[in-house]
């Protein structure tokens, strides 16, 4: 594999870029390694998951080291590893495909410019997500100020707008019986969920997206959001109750 080096990566960022980076980039903090006692309490599946994460962390560290040396191929590998997750986070948060793509690109550009400030003490994964969630929150604030209307692609057919009690919708995204009708129902329900998700408070929405859609662990969410464990539990519960309330007419 050829090694493309970028001397620009080793140069300090310009003051304007530094200001932008300072807004969304926070220093990575050391994360405690799991103790042998913790490992002993894990189920085989959890142990397998922990091993997979450890391998991913080692790979990320290698890529970050190469990126800091100016290797653009390492940057490409990092982007391709995380692009779906960061784009998915943005899409679920913003509900607009073009806006989500621009924001996700912005996150990786910030990572590229700020990689020098990543000390390698915490996981790259949580550092990246912290940048993404800060960028997203800033954008939502900005869009709110400009009275931006989310453009969720909602199925406008009258039946799609009806609650389940009136024969309008369904409780699962995919029916047990496969086929085009089930797929259409799944798409319609996805749009309904996306619309109701978009109506939540951004802090609540972020927790639902991180935990229930992207499947992050509580510990990861605590590192990303900076919340205390108790606060996370109660806030996540309130977020779920709010979404349940909104989806109630579509559940049977």
């Amino acid at each position: 594999m050829s090694r493309v080096t970028d001397p620009d990566l080793r140069a300090p960022p310009s003051p304007r870029v530094e200001a932008l980076i300072a807004e969304v980039v926070e220093p990575d903090e050391p994360e405690p390694a799991p103790s042998p006692a913790d490992n002993a309490n894990l189920t085989p599946e959890q142990r397998e998951e922990a091993a997979r994460r450890a391998e991913q962390d080692r790979r990320d560290r290698r890529l970050v080291r190469r990126l800091k040396e100016g290797d653009e191929r390492a940057f490409q590998e990092l982007v391709q590893t995380y692009q779906n997750r960061i784009f998915g986070l943005m899409l679920r948060m913003i509900s607009n495909r073009q806006e989500a793509e621009d924001l996700a690109q912005e996150v990786f550009i910030i990572v590229y410019r700020a990689i020098g400030s990543y000390r390698g003490e915490g996981r790259f994964y949580t550092w990246l997500y912290r940048i993404a969630s800060n960028t997203c929150k800033n954008r939502i604030k900005y869009l709110k100020g400009r009275n931006f209307h989310r453009s969720v692609e909602i199925d406008e057919t009258p039946q799609a707008q009806l609650p389940a009690s009136e024969g309008g919708s369904i409780v699962t995204l995919q029916s047990q019986v496969p086929g085009p009708e089930a797929a259409a129902e799944g798409t319609r329900m996805e749009k309904v969920i996306q619309r109701e998700l978009a109506a939540l408070d951004p802090e609540h929405r972020l927790l639902i997206v991180l935990r229930d859609i992207q499947g992050l662990t509580y510990q990861d969410i605590i590192r990303i959001t900076g919340l205390q464990e108790g606060t996370l539990k109660s806030r996540l519960h309130r977020a779920r109750l709010a979404l349940k309330e909104r989806l109630q007419p579509y559940m049977r």
Binding site: Q83, E101, Q105, Q194, L247
Partner: protein, 142 residues
């Protein structure tokens, strides 16, 4: 007091569904579920909602995502610092040309509209005598 305890136990419901509770906390939630049909209903609703949300399909970034990121980085690098003069050079040349054109046009228009204004009259200079004696009454008299 009892209400506060119930509220606390309710707040633990989500963590219970995520299997994130210590054994004693989990026992509190289970006790509440055993005693309260409302709590059971709420738990069931939460579970249904979670099944829906967790069933959302995974989202994929566009296939040319990295290329777009790399392009933006190149463009911003180009716009930064050392290459800025190259980018602004055509505008600098255009500005100078525009100023020259305006200046020349103004001068030409000004001269056209006021041709006598091009020479200033000096009051100390005596005008030369008229060359045609027929038009000079002093020269015509004896």
């Amino acid at each position: 007091m009892a209400e506060q305890k119930t509220a606390e136990a309710e707040a633990l419901m989500s963590a219970y569904l995520d299997e994130q509770l210590a054994p004693e906390e989990a026992a509190r939630v289970e006790k509440m579920l055993a005693e309260s049909p409302e709590a059971r209903e709420e738990m069931s609703g939460l579970q249904k909602m979670l099944n829906l949300v967790k069933g959302l399909p995974e989202v994929e970034a566009p296939p040319d995502f990295y290329e777009k990121v790399a392009k933006k980085i190149r463009r911003r690098r180009y716009l930064r610092g050392e290459n800025l003069w190259l980018l602004t050079l055509p505008f600098q040349v255009l500005s100078v040309v525009l100023i020259l054109v305006v200046a020349v046009t103004y001068m030409l228009l000004h001269l056209d509209s006021n041709p006598s204004g091009q020479l200033e009259k000096d009051p100390t200079v005596v005008p030369p005598p008229a060359e045609n004696p027929a038009q000079d009454p002093a020269a015509a008299s004896p």
